[in-house]
């Protein structure tokens, strides 16, 4: 079953094409990584799926629901940006509870859901800390818990490893994969780092100049890169 379908999406800024007829299909429960160099349009694609940017043309589907015209707040998409985007004035508990509260959940429902998410991301005891009192990895887990709190149909991760130090990177990757498997949520993650992409993705879509130029399982891409550009992009992994 299809979790996400991006159908022929284009987007330009001042005449410059950031997305050029992007086609992308992600299976339900799959971890898809979009990998490409800086400026190739991957974050723009993420923001178009989220609804923060309007595409010039094309459609976005989540399952069998066409969401292209829905406002962000009605798309039910969890989003974790590169800097995690935690609300600085709210503590960990309030950050995670935010989506549940605005959706009108009762106090007891909010409490039980937040506590179970805190357990899931291993942050029990951190409820009253403000974002500035947390490490990069902890902030990311709060952002993930907050995104997952609303039971989203899709999870979008923008460069999730760029603010994580090398020493804890492998733990974070394991945690991300583990969390995604546990929740079974369809996930789209963008990164410029081929090594991270090959560690994270069930499948990888390689993006270049606003187009997806190859999409497949990590092994398929490693064994059969379609062209020289792809070979160059995945060179660090081949070495």
């Amino acid at each position: 079953m299809r979790g996400l379908y991006v159908q022929n999406v284009s987007k330009s800024f001042n005449g410059v094409k950031a997305l050029d007829g992007v086609e992308l299909s992600v299976e339900q429960g799959e971890f898809m990584v979009i990998m490409g160099p800086s400026g190739c349009g991957k974050t723009t694609l993420l923001l178009v799926i989220l609804g923060a940017l309007k595409p010039d043309k094309g459609l976005i589907w989540i399952g069998d629901r066409e969401i292209s015209r829905l406002p962000i707040e009605e798309r039910n998409i969890g989003y974790v940006p590169q800097d995690f985007g935690l609300f600085p004035h709210l503590n960990v508990y309030e950050n995670i509870a935010f989506g549940l509260r605005v959706k009108g959940y009762s106090k007891s429902e909010v409490d039980s859901k937040v506590k179970s998410l805190l357990r899931m991301v291993d942050l029990e005891g951190f409820e009253l800390r403000k974002p500035r009192e947390l490490s990069g990895g902890q902030r990311q887990r709060v952002a993930l818990a907050r995104a997952l709190a609303i039971n989203p149909s899709l999870l979008l991760l923008d460069e999730p490893l760029s603010n994580i130090d090398e020493a804890t990177k492998s733990d974070v990757i394991a945690n991300l994969k583990n969390l995604q498997r546990k929740t079974g949520i369809t996930t789209v993650c963008v990164t410029h780092n081929p090594e991270d992409a090959f560690k994270l993705g069930d499948r990888i879509a390689i993006m270049y100049l606003g187009k997806i130029i190859q999409c497949g399982k990590p092994k398929e891409i490693l064994e059969n890169p379609k062209n020289e550009v792809i070979k160059r992009l995945i060179a660090p992994v081949l070495i």
């Binding site: 962000i72 707040e73 609303i150």
Partner: protein, 249 residues
């Protein structure tokens, strides 16, 4: 020794001394006449001017905050042609437009409605000149929040405009709105021309401290000086509190 460095420091020192003397000279000028000034402070007309000035400035500050929130929201989020020009009209022009002209404009606009020479006229005149400080603070901070992208995250979690305003923008802007209130209050306390033209100077109704200083400076200089000492002291206290708020950020 770097002579250019010394020259710059000397020039800066001269400016600093000049500015400090301009502020503090009033207290020096009072000199031995503190007794006269203190006796002037007992005059009912001075009490009336203090009351009208403070109460109208507080009301203008509150109205400025109430107005700044929707205006800053629209200027931050709405996309329309001429937004920059509108911002200039709302924020910069009132600070450069001659207040006396605005007083005349209000006299022509609202005179027939019976609003001239009333307490409401004091508020209307002061609002135009003073509210841009709060609006400008709110626009700047709302824009910073928008640029941080956390409003988009809040929306992705289901937040609607009312939630964005009450749970994100206002809590993150509260100190800036308070700082804007403080500057608006200080500017409203000092406003003279627009208020004098549109509201006049009726003791206990529309006469403010600046109007009293202006009108009494010839006939009763000790009253003018007493009112000036009060106005200047209040202004300094207000701005120092603003600095303290900003530092606690």
């Amino acid at each position: 020794m770097d002579r250019f460095d010394v020259a710059l420091k000397m020039m800066a020192s001269i400016i600093v001394i000049y500015m400090l003397i301009s502020i503090l000279y009033l207290y020096i000028a009072v000199g031995e006449n503190w007794g006269l000034v203190l006796s002037a402070l007992l005059e009912s007309r001075v009490h009336g001017a203090i009351f009208i000035s403070i109460s109208s400035a507080i009301l203008v500050g509150i109205l400025a905050v109430a107005a700044a929130i929707p205006v800053a929201y629209v200027l931050t989020y709405a996309n329309f042609r001429g937004k920059d020009i509108l911002e200039t009209f709302l924020v910069e022009l009132p600070q450069t437009f001659p207040p006396v002209t605005e007083g005349l404009v209000y006299l022509l606009m609202f005179g027939r409605l019976g609003l001239a020479y009333t307490f409401a006229a004091v508020i209307i005149a002061k609002f135009y000149v003073s509210a841009p400080f709060t609006i400008s603070f709110a626009v700047r901070r709302f824009t910073e929040v928008r640029e941080s992208g956390i409003d988009v995250i809040a929306r992705s979690l289901g937040a609607r405009t009312s939630h964005i305003l009450s749970k994100i923008l206002l809590p993150l802007t509260a100190k800036d709105l308070l700082a804007g209130f403080s500057l608006t209050w200080a500017r409203a306390m000092g406003e003279l021309a627009a208020t004098l033209v549109f509201a006049g100077a009726i003791p206990w109704v529309t006469e403010t401290l600046p109007a009293l200083i202006y009108l009494a400076s010839n006939e009763k200089p000790q009253v003018a000086i007493a009112a000036s000492v009060i106005a200047e002291t209040l202004s300094m206290i207000s701005l120092l509190s603003f600095k303290l708020i900003a530092r606690r950020k």
